[in-house]
């Protein structure tokens, strides 16, 4: 069974450009999460989807970030326009049900974003 897949694995863009990150969760997982780790800092929550609905988007830093999950399958995270401080690793994770029920959250390998 495939794990959480993220694309691209690495991206270098100029300040002001747009980047779209994609996440394919494990098949059948209703819960999808986006996290971000800026260099040297902790991993921070961005948002949580349950199927196609945004359950919690309290971690989204500003309106330059837009996440979607059309059809409740894969998700995209768009940064437009990108700023230097957006550089970091963007992790996607998924779980079949709430991890509080004992379900494991599986993380992808991350998408490294460098804004120059």
């Amino acid at each position: 069974e495939a794990g959480v897949t993220q694309f691209p694995s690495h991206s270098v863009i100029e300040k002001g450009q747009t980047v779209t990150l994609r996440c394919d969760p494990i098949s059948g997982h209703d819960n999808l999460y986006w996290y971000r780790r800026v260099m040297g800092k902790e991993i921070k929550f961005l948002l949580h989807f349950v199927k196609e609905s945004k359950q919690d988007e309290s971690g989204m830093p500003n309106n330059r970030f837009l996440a979607e999950r059309t059809g409740g399958t894969y998700s995209t995270l768009k940064v437009q326009p990108a700023e230097l401080e957006d550089s970091g690793v963007y992790f996607c994770a998924s779980s079949q049900d709430s991890y509080h029920s004992g379900n494991t959250i599986y993380f992808g390998e991350g998408s490294w974003l460098t804004v120059v």
């Binding site: 996290y35 921070k44 929550f45 919690d56 993380f107």
Partner: protein
């Protein structure tokens, strides 16, 4: 304001000995705690968790201890193996109660090196 703190950025132990990784938190609403392990260029992998109603949870070589009054938890690895060398993240959430958030709040991580 960091709610989950891992004050030791690194730890080095000898193979076969015990590794103790520490984590402190400030938010008394946290009721579920997790440890993740991360290898370079990979996403975090779930290791072990504990709810606030327990003070200890064990899984093979890994044991997590929770001291709620001190707002402190620790991960013990016995015996340590070279393959355990990785960055270990402590994470917490306040979502066990109905209506709580699913988001995880991470510490900055501790890099464990197990020397052969």
């Amino acid at each position: 304001d960091q709610q989950v703190k891992q004050n030791s950025p690194s730890l080095s132990v000898q193979e076969g000995r015990i590794s103790i990784l520490n984590c402190d938190y400030t938010n008394s609403m946290f009721d579920y705690f997790l440890w993740y392990k991360k290898y370079p260029a990979e996403g975090p992998t779930f290791l072990i968790s504990i709810s606030s109603i327990k003070d200890k949870n064990e899984d093979g070589r890994f044991t997590v201890f929770l001291n709620k009054s001190a707002k402190h938890l620790s991960l013990h690895i016995v015996p340590s193996q070279p393959g355990d060398s990785a960055v270990y993240f402590c994470a917490a959430s306040d979502g066990l109660d109905q209506g709580g958030s699913e988001k995880l709040v991470f510490g900055k991580g501790t890099k464990l090196t197990v020397n052969p």
